[in-house]
């Protein structure tokens, strides 16, 4: 668990906020962590934990357990599986540890607020832009990072549902899953491009997938022929958008999310009121708007 702002778990005069996230190694979560550290600067000490992949539900529960054992002043939690955490959240409540949910909602009464972003709506936006870019017709492929995690499914289903409802002439191929591994996602993309040479567009559902898609398209020498829509940011994606290889991408605001969950936590610690949900929103960014300050704010390299 990453310690920043000085002080050991729980001790020191600054309040200690334990953050248990859905992931650790992916850039998205690293950005959340950055934001949280920024927000906590001089106001709180935090620890940031997350399992290696978004399927390690049990790992996350163990981390949550250890976090609670350190009886923090507040607990911020992004549930991989709300049900699994219910018991522990009750335990936290009984220990009067205020709980803040983030990333995706935790279906439970316990969290005081949810600092969240709507993956489905964001994916729908991606679909909308894709449809527009390929004039509502042609074949579209999807490279998703993970078929079981909430984020993976929402970013897949949101995309599919919007297409089915609004773009009847667009043919969606079977979604493929690349574990968010750029190397693997690139291999998959190349296979798709080989078996479906007339592909109109392809969608990568997180940073790893998106970058893999870019690599795959480039290696197949199809840059320009295929419309690429991505998700999250990271330098490779930003470069690709600036160079026009990628049409655009959806970014949520992980850094902002990190900052805001600290805000909420501090409020909670001071017993202030909190609105039920704090939407951290998402943005579509492409070559035109990529330099807007609000976008730049949301992007991470």
């Amino acid at each position: 668990s990453e310690e920043s702002g000085g002080g050991g778990g729980g001790d020191g005069d600054l309040p200690y906020i334990a953050i248990v996230s859905k992931g650790f190694q992916h850039q998205f979560w690293q950005a959340v962590k950055t934001g949280a550290e920024r927000g906590a600067e001089g106001r709180a000490t935090i620890t940031f934990d997350g399992p290696a992949t978004e399927s390690d539900v049990e790992d996350q529960i163990n981390m949550l357990q250890s976090a609670i054992a350190k009886s923090p002043a507040a607990l911020a939690f992004a549930a991989l599986d709300s049900r699994a955490a219910e018991g522990l959240l009750q335990q936290a409540q009984s220990q009067d540890i205020p709980v803040i949910a983030f990333d995706s909602g935790v279906d439970s009464e316990i969290p005081l607020t949810t600092v969240a972003t709507d993956n489905k709506a964001a994916a729908a936006a991606a679909a909308e832009h894709m449809a527009e870019l390929i004039d509502n017709q042609g074949k579209v492929a999807m490279v998703i990072h993970d078929q079981t995690s909430g984020s993976g499914q929402d970013r897949r289903d949101g995309f599919i549902e919007w297409m089915e409802q609004n773009a009847p002439d667009i043919e969606l191929l079977e979604p493929q899953y690349g574990e968010g591994d750029q190397n693997l996602s690139a291999n998959i993309t190349k296979s798709i491009l080989t078996s479906t040479p007339d592909l109109a567009g392809i969608y990568g559902a997180n940073e790893g997938s998106a970058i893999g898609v870019i690599k795959g398209v480039q290696e197949s020498g199809k840059d320009g022929d295929v419309v690429i829509v991505g998700f999250d940011s990271g330098q490779a994606q930003i470069d690709a958008i600036e160079s026009g290889v990628m049409a655009g991408a959806i970014t949520q605001d992980p850094v902002g999310m990190g900052e805001q969950l600290i805000e909420a936590a501090l409020k909670a610690i001071n017993g202030e009121e909190l609105s039920a949900t704090i939407d951290t929103g998402f943005y579509w960014y492409d070559a035109d708007n990529i330099d807007d300050p609000e976008i730049q704010e949301a992007l991470y390299e």
Partner: protein, 339 residues
């Protein structure tokens, strides 16, 4: 023989006088146990909350139950000089089956549990057939099974978690989180019980005896008229039951069957077994050792989290401690082995 024996190759210790198995096994466990105690002392000093009943039993023990259960079964396989890489995803598959039995088919949860465990036995049986009949290297047979189980878990759950309905199957969740004994999660209780059973089977039954024989010298065992094929299949199938139980336990803990969970658990379980002093070359090992091995890993994970060690460092340290604890064991073995 220090120049010639490798850590794995332990079969060439020639103490001047014959040593009895129990003495040797005893020594082995003694040292692993010493290591465990040592680590626990360190953490107790480092973190005030570490050495509390709530943390040791409620967190540390509780969190080792699943890996530990897998490790128990794998101990048998490894003693036959085999290996089972399929336990991780196999566990997920069994969890999914439990979910299907209880939620999708709506069977009484007790029945669902039994069926899921038996399903684990079935997975093990297939491994056994591949290894003993088709004569595939265990590593490959179970690697293939690992992939297949991973896929099947997704197929049989439509890639979404299967939630256990708390109303109809609340008892199921109690399997893990309930407390028959105050302040002791049932999962821990279950683990203790199956550990004892595993110990008895390994030390007191024919299956256990042949498990050692197979790993010690399979050809000689066959020449002596033991039907090695049949017994090896039996060992893998028996080990599979633990995979099934692990699947039940994790589903009970999470209140749902997570199809994508489990990848990587096999390595942790195998590490636990080997840290416990069981030889990957087969022929020797013990349940007590495996339990201690599992505890060592659990203690390290738990302790480092409590000490708020940066996560990226936790793995580094875990790696180092594994090396250290096994190294001590090796030193001890070399001390014991003549030279």
């Amino acid at each position: 023989m220090s120049t010639t024996t490798t850590g794995q190759n332990e079969t060439d210790q020639r103490p001047a006088t014959g040593m009895t198995r129990h003495l040797r096994a005893g020594l082995q466990q003694l040292f692993a146990f010493a290591g465990l105690i040592l680590i626990m002392i360190v953490f107790s000093l480092a973190s005030p909350v570490f050495f509390t009943w709530g943390n040791l039993v409620g967190n540390m023990l509780f969190s080792t139950v699943v890996i530990g259960t897998l490790a128990l079964g794998t101990t048998f396989v490894i003693i036959t000089a085999g290996i089972d890489l399929s336990i991780g995803t196999g566990m997920a598959l069994c969890a999914v089956m439990a979910g299907n039995f209880i939620t999708t088919m709506g069977l009484p949860w007790q029945l669902g549990v039994v069926l899921a465990i038996l399903f684990g036995g079935l997975v093990g049986l297939v491994n056994g057939l591949l290894v003993a009949l088709a004569k595939l290297p265990p590593f490959i047979a179970t690697l293939a099974m690992m992939m297949a189980a991973d896929g099947l878990a997704l197929v049989l759950s439509n890639s979404t978690p299967i939630y256990i309905d708390a109303e109809t199957a609340g008892g199921f969740m109690q399997l893990s989180t309930g407390t028959l004994i105050p302040r002791v999660p049932n999962a821990v209780l279950v683990f203790v019980v199956v550990a004892v059973i595993a110990g008895i089977v390994l030390n007191r039954t024919i299956l256990g005896r042949y498990t050692y024989a197979l790993g010690s010298n399979e050809e000689a065992t066959a020449i002596s008229g033991v039907n090695v094929t049949r017994w090896k299949i039996a060992v893998y199938a028996f080990a599979g039951l633990f995979t099934g139980l692990a699947g039940v336990l994790i589903a009970a803990r999470l209140g749902s069957a997570q199809p994508a969970i489990g990848m990587g658990y096999e390595l942790q379980a195998i590490a636990a077994v080997v840290i416990g002093g069981t030889s990957l070359m087969g022929g020797r090992g013990s349940i007590v050792g495996t339990v201690i091995g599992a505890l060592i890993i659990a203690v390290i994970n738990n302790g480092l989290q409590l000490m708020s060690v940066p996560q990226e460092w936790q793995n580094v340290i875990l790696g180092a401690v594994i090396v250290a604890s096994v190294y001590i064991d090796t030193l001890r073995k070399r001390a014991a082995s003549s030279t």
